[in-house]
Symmetry: C2
Subunit: 448 residues, 2 copies
């Protein structure tokens, strides 16, 4: 039995609550109680106590969309629009470099960055997903691993049937890992055929897996779909049976009222990735209208090649600011709504809403502590507002997953994770050099 | 003589350059050379050498718009639109609390935060500006201090004539301080009369001072001006003689083509404050169109009551992302253009472009070093892109102003600054309690 006694707890459920002088009691990886600190100390006098007298304790952040391995391509293609960035820079680099080692190494770096920033769970989509899964386990992180489906071949497989077969084998092998879950991950409407999407739809129904797909990311994607399929991409996915409460629309930037109604009617979720959408000039997602329509919203960083920082706190801050600025209503995306999106919103989208995403008895103890006692953080009026609008991820001091400390005093705590990260010092240099050697002639980077 | 030898130098001038293995040579507070490290070591074998083998060295950041004392009101009014936020929250709090002590204490906190984040110069507008100036000097920071002009009375003065008289007295007393400069600071077109604006215009011409004014921040401000003055605010300021190369348009969110042409024709600058503009739902400034028109752009955090983080690095990152996302062009606001805006762009707006804002021989040595050697920052392809899009202010390790170390190993370096900040631990608590006692009934904050 362990008690964590922070200055404040923001449990996310009930909505908008901030508790002072409360203890979170943990046992066997779960939250067993949230009670006034005095009562908790009396009830469990033998418990180990972690006192955090200047901290806000919140549920661990859920990064609802990323491509973790792409941390090795961070900054390898900046100031480029989405299609040029993909076709001229990222895909050629991936064609040359991608394999299980690239994926494992990139995921180690990404997990280290995410953990230190208070993220306890990430939802990934990439090739060689078993390498993502194994690196995440090494780093002690909770992950939803994507069974990728895409029409074109890669070092990972020959095409959609091969990707699905390998993905399902991975799931069979790893399904008893308590920190892993799985999604079916058709890459995008413009890279997956109707036949493959139908196969995904029937598998999702059969296996009860969430389905995630990049969708309505750019205006061009919609124009192309209208020309080729005579339907907007979301309508095509709906017609193929993919929309439902288990569907995660990634990006969902260009949405008309019918698109929003379609998502709401199916109980689907949106993975909102504001930095990536801005950086690639995709646009600004209508998150306030989505929220009003009752669509569940989570926040994602996207991969480090298009962000370039796997920092859910700054991502969520931008989500809130952008919603206010683009809707013209300063009251939308309140600090508490923002915290909800980056925790329970993400967890629900992944079908994990009953296990993580809030500080409630019975849930797994995925927790993040943020130090607000620094003189530069004074005064604090509302600690949740302070978290969202003033704090930085560098103020995250402690992170627990399943009740185990994974970050302590701003450092990775588990020996295995420390070792994996230490190995990356040399390996990142190797990948740097391979990327530079692979870049097209004329592209020169002064780094390294 | 001192040599700083970082891994990379981004001098800002010439544009887009990144130098490896170069030394910056300092003497008597100035940059005397920027040369290959080997040559510099040979030329000055007796020099003190600071080696920063994993760092990017850039010009100190210039925060082109803030109200430093408002750090004491950080988070005291979130999720509110501009006019309600001003009239129902901020102005009533200021009416009760503001005075030289409030201003001095808030400025100490703000300076500490800004320095640790790599900001070496800030442009302020607030009441009791001599308290801002003295606190900035105590903290060792370069500041442009506003001679505020506003029609309504405050604890600082009875009205515009009194504010101008006191402001000019302050300037007379402090004008020999090398780290201080001064601006004439009419608050906004809707809070300053034509008579007062005419007086500002003639003073600016007489004294050669920059003029800064919040302008075109909200759509409502323009509608009101059309009703009351039959002109848009910028046209009214132009008619009153305020526009010119020394004019800084703060916010400048709602601009039509004629407004942009007016600013360009007069050689005016814009202080772009994206976080504040989004948070108060003011809107998104057309910075790409301003840049294309040739208007000089700087970046400002605004005060901590509307941001809530005096972090120019994240502010500039948002400026770049927002420009890309709102213009639909991913190539605008490149990382180098962004670094220019947050350094030389701000310096030029303040009339300090010949003294600071770039790493060039003859300029004052205002420098910021950012650690990019952390394993989580690997790989680095373009260090300037990495600075803008991936780094956080927590990676700022060293800051120099006039060649003096003000931040070293991520801590304030000067004893006086350390003492002033240490005093704030208790004083911030007092201000917190006074703010809470002053908040309207029904507004409850759980913090403190």
């Amino acid at each position: 039995m362990e008690l964590i006694i922070p200055r404040w707890v923001a449990p996310v459920v009930p909505d908008g609550v901030i508790l002072s002088d409360h203890a979170v009691a943990l046992e066997h990886g779960r939250i067993v109680a949230l009670a006034p600190a005095v009562q908790a100390r009396e009830a469990w006098p033998q418990a180990t106590v972690t006192e955090l007298p200047g901290h806000l304790l919140v549920p661990g952040f859920v990064n609802l969309h990323t491509h973790a391995p792409m941390s090795l391509l961070r900054g390898a293609g900046d100031d480029m629009p989405l299609q040029a960035w993909l076709r001229e820079r990222i895909w050629p680099l991936e064609a040359k470099l991608m394999g299980p080692e690239f994926v494992a190494d990139g995921t180690v770096l990404a997990c280290a960055e995410m953990l230190m920033g208070g993220i306890t769970c990430f939802n990934d989509m990439y090739f060689h997903p078993e390498a993502v899964a194994e690196a995440a386990l090494d780093m002690g992180m909770r992950a939803a691993v994507g069974i990728i489906v895409v029409e074109f071949p890669s070092s990972y497989g020959s095409g959609p049937a091969d990707y699905i077969r390998k993905g399902l084998e991975m799931r069979d092998r790893l399904r008893d890992e308590p920190r892993l879950s799985f999604t079916l991950s058709p890459h995008a409407p413009y890279t997956v055929s109707d036949d493959s999407l139908r196969r995904v739809s029937s598998l999702a129904a059969e296996l009860g897996l969430p389905v995630q797909c990049h969708v309505h990311e750019t205006a061009g994607e919609i124009t192309d779909s209208l020309a080729e399929h005579r339907r907007r991409p979301l309508q095509r996915l709906a017609d193929l049976g993919l929309l439902g409460p288990e569907f995660i629309a990634i990006h969902a930037v260009h949405l008309d009222e019918a698109d929003i109604a379609l998502l709401a009617r199916h109980g689907a979720s949106v993975a909102h990735c504001p930095h990536s959408n801005l950086k690639l000039a995709s646009g600004i997602a209508p998150t306030t209208r989505l929220m009003t329509a009752g669509v569940n919203l989570g926040v994602g960083t996207d991969g480090a090649a298009s962000n370039n920082r796997l920092d859910l706190l700054s991502e969520a801050r931008t989500a809130a600011l952008l919603a206010k600025g683009s809707s013209g209503d300063a009251t939308v995306w309140s600090a508490h709504q923002t915290l909800h999106a980056m925790t329970l919103g993400g967890a629900r989208a992944l079908g994990l809403g009953a296990r993580i995403g809030s500080i409630e008895p019975g849930k797994q103890a995925d927790l993040t502590a943020v130090d607000l006692a620094d003189p530069l953080s004074q005064p604090v009026f509302d600690p949740v507002a302070h978290l969202i609008h003033a704090a930085g991820r560098e103020q995250v001091t402690h992170v627990w997953i399943d009740g185990q400390l994974v970050v302590r005093a701003r450092q990775l705590h588990a020996e295995r994770a420390q070792l994996r990260l230490a190995e990356m010092r040399g390996r990142a240099r190797l990948w740097h050099n391979r990327v530079v050697d692979t870049l097209p002639a004329g592209v020169r980077h002064p780094g390294g």
